[in-house]
Symmetry: C2
Subunit: 380 residues, 2 copies
C-alpha cells in the first residue's frame, strides 16, 4: 500500500519550488545570416519525462512572456504565471502525464541570450549589435534544448501569438519530431497593419533619448518609450468591443500611475488612459527595450513560406496533427487568416483543424479565456 | 447678349486666386471654462452669397485640415486642397449656386487662433497655456464668422471625422440656423479604443525632448514625436484590408525618407513602413504639435449629449434634415455607430437618413472615394 502510494507520488511528482534552469550551447547559425554564441536558454519544466522520451509538451511564449508559464507555489493564479490555469496535474497540460517544458526565447530578456546579454567579443551588453533573429532561430534553439533534456519526440508544441508562430514553425521545420501542434491566434505571416503597429511601437522606443542607440545601462533604459510602445500594443491585443465593455468613456476614479511623459492632462483622464499608463509602466519595469525591438521584429519577419519554393511546399512538409485556434475579435491576427491557413493545410493533404474562440477580448483571449480555451482544446 | 454673358459670369464668379481671409472677434467663452480672446478665424469662401443670405454651405474640416478645401487655380487636384474634387461650379458643392465657406478651426495652426498663436498676456505663443477647447467651441466660433459674413441661415453644414462632429454639433446647438447637415464618419462620441489611439499619439509627441512642455520655438518643434503620432494615426485612418491591398508584405523599392528616429533597420524595410515614415515626415513639416494635442483631445472629449439631460434630449433639438454617412471599413468611427446615431434621431422624431460608403479604404475614404461620395450624397 505504501509502495503503491509512493509510486503514485512519483508519477505526479512536481518540483516543490519554482526553478528556472539554464542550458548553454556553443552557437546557433542564424536564418538571416551570422551566428550567435554562446547561446543560453532559460527554461522551466513540470512533470517528468517518461522512459521512452516521448511525453513532452513544449509550450512557446509570446512577445513579452517568459519560461514561467506555470507556478507550482501558486498554481491557480494567472497573474503569477502566464498559462497557469492550463498547466498542472489534471489540467489540460497534465503534468501528471506529460513532461511540460517552457523556455524563454532567444532575443528575450528573461534568462535566455538576448540584446541585454553580454557580448563575448566586447564584454558589454550586445545592444543593437545583437543579430537579427527569426522565429526559426528561436525554434532551432528550442530543438537543441529538448535534445539536451532527452526528449526523443514531442507529444505536442503549443503557443499563441508569436508562440503560435513558433509552434507552426516547429510543424514545418521539424515535421518528424512533433505529434501534435496547436497554433493559437497566429497565421502564416502578419499583415501590413500588424507590421505598421509594431513599427510605431519600435519608433517610440528608439525616440526616447534614454535609448542611446541601444547602449543604455541596465536599469536606465528608455522606460518612457517602452511604456508608450506597450500602451499601443495593449490596444491591439484587445478589441473595440472589449475596451467598450471595460472602459467605455468613463472618467478615471483613481489615478494609479502617472502618464509616461508626466504630461499635463487636457480635460481630465479617461479610465482607458489610466489603464494604458498602468500597463505601460508595468512592462517598462520588467522588460528590456532592445528585446522588444528584436522580438517584435521577428514577429514581422516571420513568413512560414520563407526559404521554400511556395507556401504549399512549406505546408506539405507538416506531418503533425495541427489545430488552429482563431479568436473572433482578434484584429492583430484576424480569425479569418488563421482559418485560411488551416484550410490551406487541409487542401495540401495535411491533418489540420480549425476552431474559433468566441471571445470579445481580442488577441489576448488566449491569455484570459481559460474555460473557453479548455473547451476548445479539449477535443484535440 | 453681352449683358447676359456678363450676368452669367457674375453668377458663376469665382475668385481668380486663392485667398485666405481672417476674421477676428473679442473673445469666446469656452465650454470647459475660461475664455479665449482675441479669436481669429482664417477662412476661405467660394461662390457668392445671395441677397437673402441663405445659400451658404459651411464645410468643416478634420484634425489636420485647414480652410483650403478647394483650390481655384488647380481645381481638380485633390492633393492641393482636401475636398477639391467635390467643390466648384457644377460640382456637388456647387459654387455657381452656393456660397461655400471653410474656416480653420480654433486650436488649429493654419491661421486661426491656436496654441501657436501669441498669447496677449505674455507676448509669446500660448503653448500649453492654451485652454482646453471643444467641438462646441469650434462651432460657436464658426457661428460668429457666418454672422460676420452676412449669412442668415446655412443651407448646409457638412464635414467628416472631427468635421462630422462639428456638423453634428451645429445641428444640435443651432437647430434653427441650418437646413441640412451631412455627418460623415462621425458618431455621438468616440469609443474607448479611439481615445486610446489618440492618447498614444499625444504621449509620443510629449515624449519628444524637443517638445519642451509645449514651449518649443516655431520651426523647432517635436518633429520626431509628431511623426510617430502621425504614423499611428495613419494606421487608424486606413483599414487592414486597404493596407493589405496597398502594401501587403512587400519590401520597400525606394527609400524616400528616413525613419523618424533615424534608427537602424532590423531585417530590411517594409513598404508599409516607408509609407508611414513619409506620412509622418510630411505632417511634421506642416503641422503644429501642440495643435495636434488640443484638437485630438477635442475629438476625444466630444459627446453630443454633453450638457443635456440625456442623449435623447440633445437629439430632439435637431430640426435639420440630417444625413449620416458611415464607411464600411472605418474602425475609428465604425459604421455601426454612425448608423446607430441616425436611427436614434429617427426614433426621437428627427429627419435623419443613413447611407454607407462601401469602401475598403477605412476612415480616410471621405477624403478619397470621390465618385462614391458624390453618389452617396447625390440623393440628399
Amino acid at each position: 500500500m505504501v509502495a503503491q502510494l509512493q509510486y503514485i507520488n512519483h508519477k505526479i511528482q512536481v518540483k516543490p519550488e519554482n526553478e528556472v534552469l539554464t542550458f548553454t550551447f556553443d552557437q546557433l547559425l542564424l536564418q538571416r545570416g551570422g551566428r550567435l554564441g554562446p547561446v543560453t536558454l532559460a527554461y522551466e519544466t513540470w512533470g517528468e519525462l517518461n522512459a521512452t522520451g516521448d511525453n513532452a509538451i513544449l509550450i512557446t511564449h509570446a512577445l513579452t512572456g517568459s519560461s514561467h508559464a506555470h507556478d507550482v507555489e501558486d498554481p491557480e493564479n494567472p497573474k503569477v504565471a502566464w498559462w497557469n490555469p492550463l498547466i498542472g496535474p489534471g489540467k489540460y497540460f497534465d503534468t501528471s502525464r506529460f513532461f511540460v517544458i517552457c523556455s524563454n526565447i532567444i532575443g528575450g530578456c528573461s534568462g535566455s541570450t538576448g540584446p541585454s546579454s553580454i557580448n563575448p567579443l566586447t564584454g558589454r551588453p550586445y545592444g543593437m549589435r545583437f543579430p537579427v533573429i527569426t522565429i526559426r532561430d528561436m525554434v532551432r534553439a528550442q530543438r537543441k534544448l529538448i535534445e539536451h533534456l532527452g526528449v526523443r519526440r514531442l507529444a505536442m508544441v503549443v503557443g499563441g501569438s508569436i508562440g503560435g508562430q513558433q509552434a507552426l514553425e516547429w510543424a514545418v521545420h521539424y515535421p518528424h519530431l512533433v505529434d501534435k501542434v496547436i497554433v493559437m491566434a497566429a497565421s502564416a505571416a502578419v499583415s501590413a497593419q500588424a507590421i505598421a503597429f509594431n513599427e510605431v511601437a519600435r519608433q517610440s522606443i528608439m525616440a526616447d533619448p534614454a535609448w542611446l542607440c541601444g547602449d543604455y545601462l541596465p536599469g536606465q533604459g528608455p522606460t518612457t518609450g517602452l511604456s508608450i510602445a506597450r500602451m499601443l500594443a495593449m490596444i491591439t491585443y484587445q478589441s473595440e468591443e472589449s475596451m467598450e465593455m471595460r472602459f467605455a468613456r468613463n472618467s478615471v476614479q483613481r489615478e494609479v500611475v502617472t502618464a509616461p511623459t508626466f504630461s499635463p492632462e487636457l480635460g481630465g483622464r479617461f479610465d482607458v488612459e489610466n489603464y494604458l499608463y498602468y500597463q505601460g509602466d508595468r512592462l517598462a519595469q520588467r522588460f528590456d527595450a532592445n528585446s522588444y525591438l528584436y522580438v517584435s521584429r521577428a514577429m514581422d519577419l516571420y513568413d512560414v513560406s520563407e526559404d521554400y519554393l511556395s507556401l504549399d511546399e512549406a505546408l506539405r512538409r507538416i506531418r503533425s496533427q495541427i489545430l488552429f485556434v482563431g479568436i473572433r475579435s482578434d484584429f492583430l491576427f484576424p480569425a479569418s487568416q488563421v482559418r485560411w491557413l488551416a484550410e490551406k493545410i487541409q487542401a495540401v493533404g495535411g491533418n489540420a483543424q480549425y476552431a474559433e474562440l468566441d471571445s470579445p477580448h481580442g488577441h489576448d483571449a488566449f491569455l484570459k479565456e481559460w474555460s473557453k480555451i479548455v473547451d476548445t482544446l479539449q477535443e484535440f
